[in-house]
Structure formats: C-alpha cells, structure tokens
Symmetry: C2
Subunit: 245 residues, 2 copies
C-alpha cells in the first residue's frame, strides 16, 4: 500500500482541511466526558496515532492545538497532562496576548481602570448584600492584612487576598477568575512599587475604611473608599516608573 493509497483510505469524511481538527475534537470530547481522566497523562503519541489511525505528524499537531486551548498541560519533555477546563484555563490561554497588549501605551492603565470599575461594583454590592459569612471572611482578611503591615512581602499578598474576598462574595465563579487575572497581569507592575511599613499602614487603613463602610451598609461610602484607595495606589505605581498615561 503506497502512501497515497493509505492517505485516500484514511479518512473519507468531510473534505474540510485539517485532519488534526477531527482528532482534536474527539480527544476534547473524551476529556470532557471524563473518558480521559483529569490530571492523568495523555496516551503516548505513538499510541494515539494507532487509535486514530493517523500519522504522528497529525497527532502532534492535534496535541499542540489541545495544549494551546489549555485542555492539556504540555511541558517540554513530559507526557501531556489532561486538564479539565475551568475558568482558570480560559484565563491562562489568554495570558500571552494580554501581556503583549499591556506593553502598548496605556495598556496597563486601561486594565487598571477596568479593575477599579469592577471593584467599585463589587464593594457596592457587598455593602448592599454581603452575608454574615462574607463579612466574617472580610474581617479575617483585614486582620491578616493588619498583622502584615511590618512585612511588605506578606502585606502585598494579604492585600491581594483582601480584595480577593470581594470577588468571591457574588458567588459567581467568573469573578474570582477575573481577580486572578488582575492579580497576575497587574502584579508585575505592582511589585515594582516602593513599599514601606508607612505605606502599608496607609493602605491598611483604606482597607479598613472599605470594610467599615460595607459593615455599615453604605454603598456610596464603600465605593468612595475603594476609589480613593486604588487611585492612591495607582499614583504610587505611576510615580515609581512614571511613564504610563
């Protein structure tokens, strides 16, 4: 059987371009259906080429596509690990491009602005409808933040965590994802900001003000406190490596 004969016999289905796409679709479906277990390793490429009666070329292309979609985690010399998609997967797959966009003028500023926008809504809602449990978690995060004032490193992470609680209050899985997005895309810029216990103290007080306003069920005050907080922080970031906007 010559090459061309084999090729003809291989896949008499639709003429539409890539054969790899077909395999991608099938593997994807197997991942979603759980036929291929989460966190397990994908079968070897030579194995896959038998299962799908395709050449390794095609299989490899399919695997690459799957990897780019985030459905499998393909480190250089290791077997690809299957990963059921979650919102974080989506975030991951968009990361590359966003990083490029942030390099453009105003990119970081635009992103930060959108964050302010989102968190304004978040604190308003928190002030309106945060439950007992939400308040408790906020309080906890606030305390952790206060305890870290002396340690800028730890202050930063508790800072992020405090804001993170805000994103969890709506009980919508999209929001925590958005929070991670902001954290991962903005923090490279944030981390350059000069830090000191004095500044941490100021930031802590801002957090406290936000918390208090939420506790007092005052959306306007909460929003105002949040805006003040973030704008101030932004100023600090800007002056640290003043170029944006």
């Amino acid at each position: 059987m010559s090459d061309q004969e084999r090729q003809k016999a291989a896949d008499p289905h639709v003429s539409s371009g890539r054969a790899a796409d077909s395999i991608v679709a099938r593997i994807q479906q197997q991942i979603l259906s759980g036929e291929l277990e989460d966190k397990a390793a994908l079968p070897s490429e030579r194995d896959l080429m038998e299962r799908f009666a395709a050449s390794r070329t095609v299989v490899r292309e399919a695997v690459a596509t799957l990897a780019s979609r985030g459905l499998i985690d393909a480190k250089p010399r290791f077997r690809p690990i299957i990963r059921k998609p979650g919102y974080d997967t989506a975030l991951n797959s968009i990361g590359n491009i966003v990083e490029l966009l942030l390099k453009e003028t105003g990119g970081v500023a635009a992103l930060f602005e959108s964050r302010v926008f989102v968190e304004r809504g978040l604190v308003r809602d928190a002030a309106t409808s945060a439950g007992r449990e939400d308040i408790a978690r906020l309080k906890e995060a606030l305390a952790a933040n206060r305890d870290a004032i002396g340690d800028s490193q730890r202050f930063f992470s508790t800072d992020v965590a405090f804001h993170g609680v805000l994103y969890e209050i709506p009980r919508n899985p999209i929001f925590p994802t958005v929070h991670s997005a902001y954290a991962s895309w903005l923090s490279p810029h944030w981390s350059r900001m000069l830090r000191s216990p004095e500044r941490n103290q100021v930031n802590y007080l801002s957090h406290e003000a936000i918390y208090t306003a939420i506790l007092e069920r005052d959306p306007d005050a909460a929003e105002a406190a949040l805006v003040t907080h973030l704008r101030t922080a932004w100023e600090h970031v800007r002056e640290t490596f003043g170029l944006e906007h």
Copy 2:
C-alpha cells in the same frame, strides 16, 4: 551530513525545550515591530525553514502556535495572514474554551450575571458622567431601536448596539471588547428566544427608561431600569429552553 550531525550543528543556544518556541518568539517580535506588515501574508513554510534554519516540522508547529495565539490568521489552505494583536484578538483566542464552559450547568447564567453586574456599573457611570456626545449617541441608538420594533431581526441588532454604546462611554478599549464577548457568547442563546413586536416594544421601553434615567442623572434609577430590563429578558430566555439554573 547525516541527520544527527545537522541536528547538533543547528542550534547550540539554550537547551530549553522546543525549538519552535524560539521561532515563535522571533516571528512574534517581527510582527509587533512591524517588520512583518499587518495583513500581509506570512512567507511560505519552505521559505521560513530556510530563514530560521529549521525543519518544516518545527516551522509548522511555530505557525500553528502563532495561529492559536491569534497573531496570524491561518485558514486551511491559504497563506497565513499576519494580524497585529488587539483586544479583539485576545477575545478570539479565549472563545474556544469559553464555549466549553458555557455548556456546563450554570455557565450561561454565570456569564449573564456578570454582564448584569458590568452593565449596572456602566449605566451608573453613564448617569453620573456621560458627556453631551455620549448622550447623543445613546439617543441615536435608542431611535434606531425604536424604528426596528416591527422587525425582530433588526430589533435584536439595534438592541445590541444600544447596549454597546454604554460600553463605549468609559473610553476604555477593554469595555467594547467585553461587550463583543458578551454579544458573541450570549447571542447563540439569545437568538433562540421567542420574539415578537410586542416583546420588542417592551424591551424598547426598557431602553427608553434607562436612557431617561441617564439623562436625568439618576444612577439609582438607571441601574434599577437596567436590572429590570435584563432580568426580564433573562426570564424569557430561560423559559424558551428552560434548563439553566
């Protein structure tokens, strides 16, 4: 020169995994720097393999990666077209995964909820700080929407456009992108909704109420009108193919 000899001589640089990555990086940089012009065709694969002194296998993998990142537009049998990244590119590259997520229980609901959240903030801000020009555009979009009440097809698009104006008011390129995202991911579900001039009429009135509230600089009223509007629409969508949530 045997295969292995050639291989050894090829690229003595960093040992880090894939050679394709290196090519991806270089091409990407060339695209960003404008060295490879936007909307022009990428050189042929056989050409690229000479330029980068790599096998076609590697070149193809690089091209595939670039395509998945949205930096080039690779249709099946055509030369890939170079495309400078914009926010829409990012949106595009995330589309696949999101579609999967939407199939999960509550996925659409979660997305819709986030939309309500965003638009609530949007109308509040519009009511607070929309400029003369913004108002004019809103008015225009509203008029177009009214004129389309009798034509459900056109009503839908003017509906989307009206909401779209809201996203443009902040003058932040991220927001229109978010709007496109909502539009493209939600509309498949929306389009199944039963439509009629009567319903269109109701929706139009909602739009009008939002517009009026913005005009009167009343954030609370605007937000309330928006929420009522979207919640009602959501009910209609739900009852049409009642499963979500």
